[in-house]
């Protein structure tokens, strides 16, 4: 194997492992990322990793995907970025396909509906926890609390006539204007 092939193979392996473990997002994903990317392969320094995490928070998209793109590019250019991004999603594609095949070929999909409703309380708890943890991270001061409340109530009171993306854009621009 040439040097580049070797690096691409390592990127593939590392990001498939990250993709396997990184669900629920947030902290578990970040710990797994730093383990593979910083400690095992030393592709990024701890300081660079911290920068990637900060960057991932400010850009759209899941943190594991953002980190894969960035690390892949650093290590092996655009091909590395594409490969690492694909690799981190491969376990998801595999498990989703298994689930869809099971649902497709089982005699009835009643089990899927039952399991989904059994998952509901836990999902609600995860969403509530996301409100809490993101809120803690981004709501500094009453004005940002007001932004969050305004977004919530515009959706609620307009019965979703207001486009959620418009709210992101509007309050992002207001964030630029006030600080």
């Amino acid at each position: 194997m040439t040097g580049l092939d070797h690096i691409l193979a390592e990127l593939f392996g590392a990001f498939v492992r990250i993709g396997f473990g990184a669900f629920g997002g947030g902290m578990p994903a970040i710990q797994l990322l730093s383990h593979e990317v910083v400690e095992v392969h030393r592709w990024l320094s701890p300081a660079e990793m911290a920068e990637v995490v900060a960057l991932a928070e400010m850009t759209p998209g899941p943190i594991a995907v953002n980190a894969a793109t960035f690390t892949g590019y650093r290590v092996a250019g655009i091909a590395g970025a594409a490969l690492a991004t694909f690799s981190v999603l491969l376990p998801a594609i595999f498990f989703l396909s298994v689930f869809l095949v099971l649902r497709r070929f089982s005699r009835s999909d009643r089990w899927a509906r039952k399991l989904a409703s059994a998952l509901q309380p836990g999902i609600l708890a995860l969403i509530a926890a996301a409100v809490w943890s993101l809120g803690k991270a981004v709501i500094h001061g009453w004005i940002f609390g007001l932004f969050a409340a305004a977004s919530f109530f515009s959706l609620l009171l307009s019965k979703e006539k207001v486009h959620p993306a418009l709210l992101i854009l509007l309050f992002g621009l207001l964030g630029l204007a006030i600080s």
């Binding site: 473990g21 999603l89 594609i93 309380p121 609600l124 708890a125 969403i127 409100v131 600080s179």
Partner: protein
């Protein structure tokens, strides 16, 4: 003809999820109101029930929530091609943005401007996720079982348990609850 319209649907899915991916700040849950609006309210591709079911499976299956939801919704609307293109559309904006930054094409992100933009957009995302909580739960807030298990799972999450463990606990708790209800002493 049916095959052709399915391909066309798959490309519409790509466009829809590309736009959604562009605005997914602050974690996958913030895209719930965006997806619900696009695929349930506007295009009526999915019923409320189907959407909730896809979301319920998107979370415990390994992989980023946003991509998983896109994949499952895409499959319902236009089969395997729909799933692939919806997931690709959802990932492409973040891929391009990060690649642009890594290539040094975007001086915007080197400045504190991005941080300021995110401070406002992130706050809006908190509102979006809070709304997602309301939207997903609104049918079940009066069920004692949901309230009980939800609060217990939240307590586990806050005390640092892995999200998957909290989910598993809530599912098992639900089974025990149902069993206890059907076996009154």
């Amino acid at each position: 003809m049916k095959g052709l319209s399915r391909v066309r649907l798959a490309f519409t899915l790509f466009g829809t999820f590309f736009l959604i991916g562009l605005f997914t700040f602050g974690g996958g849950f913030s895209m719930i109101p965006l997806i619900a609006r696009a695929v349930v309210e506007r295009r009526k591709w999915l019923t409320e029930e189907e959407f909730r079911e896809d979301l319920a499976f998107a979370v415990p299956i390994p992989g980023p929530n946003a991509v998983n939801i896109a994949f499952l919704v895409g499959f319902r609307v236009a089969g395997a091609l729909g799933a692939a293109l919806a997931a690709l559309g959802c990932v492409l904006p973040s891929f391009l943005v990060i690649l642009g930054i890594a290539l040094g094409l975007s001086p915007y992100f080197a400045t504190p401007l991005a941080r300021k933009f995110f401070s406002g957009a992130g706050a809006a995302a908190v509102g979006l996720i809070a709304y997602a909580f309301f939207r997903i739960g609104r049918g079940s807030f009066r069920e004692p079982k949901t309230i009980l298990l939800g609060i217990a799972a939240l307590a586990l999450l806050i005390s640092g348990f892995h999200p998957l463990l909290a989910l598993l606990f809530a599912v098992l708790g639900g089974l025990i609850y149902d069993w206890a209800r059907s076996h009154p002493r």
